[in-house]
């Protein structure tokens, strides 16, 4: 998935591996207890909705290739179910050679499984939301039992990833009609081909995975059992880690990271992240979009395109934020280092653009500095003047007041918004922070009924900011929340997305980034780092920003250092 919303959710590099394993080599056996913040909602990756579930399912269902991240090299693609792959001369045909592997029911993995997965992805009855990833693929076929061939409309930068998404399913799942997949208890009929198999699920409590002895070479994984224990919240999970009841907690709240770091028996992994937090500035007058939809009698499925939004922007521009000088001034007035060092305790970095530093593609653009003097000058130039010293600016009798929405269930973001409001007050901008229940917050975001909206996105491993900042994404259910329609930026994004390879795309994306920084449709606040707390009895652990259980088959545990007394599992 390319951009997963964290709209409604709630920072220096550290070597990510825990334990050096130098005293003795990896040992087989033992169990690892991992805290989850929610149940795995479905044991089929095509019906699961949460990132928690998808991370766990990665351990059960194979992919053709695996995206691997390491601190030195960034992301690279490695063989997984496919041993090797090759392109035709015209780069329109991609062939994957599958390795010998077996599903947990004993059947061999073959191209027929890949073909079945392809059918599932395209099933209208299933309605897989990631289907747009396959837009560039014209056809699929099995050349033989072990060779899968994807044919593309034209070469592009992400062909291997486009073909690879998502997990491969066993064709025996075809026994269940696609219409019934959402309502199927997959844990009761799960067939896997990953390093682990599902042993049992206790809803609301835990899920236990056991080592699959048939996986690949038979020596890995080293750990016998993974126990995913469900905790009601972040505090409960962290308390369990500190008490020694669990070995790994992902998403340690930054305000409590020091507690983990102080402990000798625990390690705090501080990884670059894909999530970033922003304030989207609405280019449309608040409410104009929803009013127009009502006027046109649009229901939930109303068809719209970029032209609809452009026409609206011409008729109903935001009276304050339609001016790029104002947006730029707002960014300049916010001390983003203060946000990083304050609420985030340094576990974040000031962001430049949606091309997050993790992707390693940023060009010359730097974050706008904190410069209230320049901010004030820009506001003056835009006609917003202070009638009295220290007061709220005005223009043509209108006060420079902005309502900024935030989701109430995220205390960190609420704190950030309070600081933003204070900073903007310093340059004569009155901010009214509005904390809303999640559902109302999303509803108002979708209706473009706000001045500013403090939210977050999580980037994928592809560069594709156009999914949130292209004019075409401003209509319908698109995610261009502030309706930023900039012809120059759109043209650059279109050319970059159509480039035959990354080498040609990157310069265009860098130009796009410059345009973004100049126009400031978003004030990029910070890129969040991923904080993982892990027990030091776990060796060679290398959680990745892409998946906290990355390469878990290489991890091993020192069983002489057991976890705490609270193990709920029955004796074996």
């Amino acid at each position: 998935m390319l951009l997963a919303a964290v709209l409604g959710c709630g920072g220096g590099p550290t070597p990510p591996a825990v334990g050096d394993g130098s005293s003795s080599g990896p040992r087989r056996g033992g169990e690892l207890i991992i805290a989850l913040r929610a149940d795995v909602d479905s044991w089929n990756p095509y019906t699961a909705g949460s990132s928690t579930a998808l991370n766990v399912l990665e351990l059960l269902y194979p992919r053709l290739v695996r995206e691997r991240w390491s601190p030195g090299t960034g992301i690279r693609v490695e063989p997984a179910l496919a041993e090797r792959w090759s392109f035709s001369d015209d780069r329109r045909e991609l062939r994957f050679e599958l390795r010998e592997a077996r599903w947990s029911d004993g059947r061999p993995v073959s191209c027929a499984d890949v073909a079945f997965t392809w059918r599932a992805q395209h099933s209208p009855a299933l309605g897989w939301p990631g289907l747009y990833i396959k837009d560039g693929i014209e056809s699929f076929e099995c050349a033989d039992e072990r060779t899968a061939v994807f044919r593309f409309a034209h070469p592009s930068a992400y062909q291997v990833l486009d073909a690879n998404d998502d997990a491969q399913l066993p064709r025996v799942y075809g026994a269940v009609p696609f219409e019934q997949w959402m309502a199927t208890a997959w844990e009761q009929r799960l067939v896997s081909a990953g390093p682990f198999r599902l042993e049992r699920v206790v809803p609301g409590q835990e899920a236990i995975l056991v080592r699959d002895p048939e996986w690949r070479d038979g020596t890995r994984p080293y750990i016998d059992r993974l126990i995913f224990r469900v905790y009601a919240g972040a505090d409960e999970a962290l308390r369990a880690l500190l008490a020694g009841d669990v070995d790994l907690v992902e998403k340690v709240p930054p305000g409590r990271a020091a507690e983990v770091a102080r402990r000798e028996d625990l390690a705090l992994l501080d990884l670059p992240g894909l999530s970033w937090t922003f304030i989207a500035w609405n280019q449309l007058a608040p409410g104009a979009y929803a009013a127009d939809r009502r006027r046109r009698g649009c229901g939930a499925g109303c068809r719209e395109d970029a032209q609809t939004v452009r026409a609206l922007l011409a008729d109903h521009p935001h009276p304050i934020l339609g001016d790029p000088r104002v947006r730029r001034a707002l960014t300049l007035a916010i001390d983003r280092e203060d946000l990083v060092e304050g609420p985030w305790r340094g576990h974040a970095r000031v962001a430049v653009s949606p091309l997050v530093s993790f992707l390693g593609v940023s060009g010359q653009s730097r974050p706008l500095p904190w410069d209230p003097v320049r901010a004030a000058a820009l506001l003056e130039a835009a006609g917003w003047r202070r009638p009295v010293e220290g007061g709220v600016r005005e223009k043509d009798g209108r006060r420079l007041e902005l309502e900024i929405l935030v989701n109430a269930d995220n205390t960190l973001r609420r704190e950030v918004l309070e600081r933003v409001a204070t900073a903007l007050a310093g340059v004569g901008v009155a901010v009214r922070p509005v904390a809303l229940p999640r559902r109302e917050y999303i509803a108002r975001a979708r209706a473009k009924d706000f001045d500013g909206l403090l939210g977050g996105w999580r980037a994928g491993t592809r560069i594709e900011p156009q999914s949130i900042l292209h004019c075409a994404a401003a209509a319908g259910r698109g995610n261009n929340l502030g309706a930023w329609c900039d012809d120059r930026a759109d043209a650059l994004a279109d050319r970059a997305a159509a480039a035959a390879d990354l080498e040609h795309a990157l310069p265009l994306w860098r130009q796009w980034e410059e345009r973004f920084v100049q126009q400031q449709p978003y004030t990029m606040l910070y890129e969040e780092r991923v904080l993982i707390g892990i027990h030091r009895r776990v060796h060679d652990a290398s959680p990745s920003p892409l998946n906290p259980y990355a390469e878990i088959e290489k991890w091993w545990v020192d069983s002489s250092e057991p976890t705490g007394v609270a193990a709920t599992s029955p004796p074996r």
């Binding site: 919303a5 009855a125 309605g127 747009y132 309502a183 809803p203 224990r229 559902r439 259910r477 705490g564």
Partner: protein, 312 residues
């Protein structure tokens, strides 16, 4: 009379269900936003909408729900990806266990303390009432955290969270897991019961009638039971009836602190994620229990105290 009460109870339950649907319907936003990927296309969104019945008008949707309830079907939970009956069935035993243990402890302990308090003099009784007050007002989650810190963190005797897994052999693991959340839930309630019972009985015991009884040579124990505890027991029975829904509605805060997989967390999740079918089923379950609890309490109270019997 009983038939009349039952009919009224039925109307209450249906009204609770309708009110729940109305409130869920009135929430701003599209439930689909919480159920689908943000990048979902309009076509895919529409398919999901149809599959979940969200394309129909509220009245049609409600009628469909009513029909399925009459056919004994509770529907499908969008967020739990399973039938509502199964989702509730997985959580309910945990809430029943915790609720039953907490109610038993709360009333057992509360009545025992009250009984003991009646045997002492008025001055000591007043002190006891004062001591019970902060305990009665203490939030359950705070007591829970203290109990975890002591019994799990310091002493290492008890697990800090979760129910025992189904495969755990014997009753002991289940009891060990149950103990801390039960204490967190029951202690404030026990203090409340003791205070309530003691205060009510003290009024009777401090009245001239009790002095006369003592003058007539009745023993302290007998006076405490006959004139203090027994006449006020009917009120306590009403309290038990009102607390009965705890058995099935769960206790959200304590369930959260102890990551207890009960109905309280399930219901909160259902409402927050706009999972209409699951939320509705849980509200109806709660409503039925409240109504039945009240009915049972009224009947029991009437049995204990003839003054409470309804005419006719």
């Amino acid at each position: 009379m009983l038939v009349h009460r039952l009919l009224r109870a039925g109307v209450t339950v249906v009204a609770a269900g309708l009110l729940t649907l109305l409130l869920l319907e009135a929430l701003p936003g599209d439930p689909l936003d919480r159920l689908s990927e943000p990048g979902i296309s309009a076509e895919q969104a529409e398919r999901t909408r149809v599959a979940l019945g969200l394309d129909r008008a509220p009245a049609a949707r409600w009628a469909a729900i009513a029909r399925s309830y009459l056919a004994g079907e509770l529907g499908y939970s969008w967020t739990r990806r399973r039938s509502v009956a199964r989702a509730v069935g997985e959580a309910l035993p945990h809430s029943l266990a915790l609720g039953a243990a907490a109610l038993t402890l709360a009333y057992g302990l509360g009545l025992s303390v009250a009984w003991g308090g009646l045997l002492v003099g008025p001055r000591l009784r007043r002190r006891l009432l004062a001591v019970l007050l902060p305990l009665a007002l203490a939030p359950g989650f705070w007591l829970g955290l203290l109990a975890v810190a002591l019994f799990h963190g310091v002493l290492g005797w008890l697990p800090a969270s979760h129910a025992a897994p189904p495969g755990a052999a014997g009753a002991l693991p289940h009891l060990r897991h149950l103990l801390l959340p039960t204490l967190a839930l029951a202690l404030p309630a026990a203090a409340m019961v003791a205070r309530y019972q003691l205060a009510a009985a003290a009024v009777v015991l401090d009245a001239p009638g009790a002095t006369v009884a003592r003058a007539l040579g009745l023993g302290r124990l007998r006076i405490a039971w006959r004139h203090g505890l027994r006449p006020t027991l009917a009120t306590t029975v009403v309290l038990v009836g009102l607390d009965l829904p705890l058995l099935v509605s769960g206790a959200l805060v304590v369930e959260t602190v102890f990551s207890w997989p009960g109905v309280g967390r399930l219901a909160a999740g259902a409402v927050l994620t706009s999972d209409y079918p699951l939320a509705l089923a849980l509200v109806l379950l709660g409503a039925v229990t409240v109504v039945l609890g009240n009915l049972a309490a009224d009947l029991l109270a009437a049995g204990l105290d003839p003054r409470r019997r309804l005419p006719g």
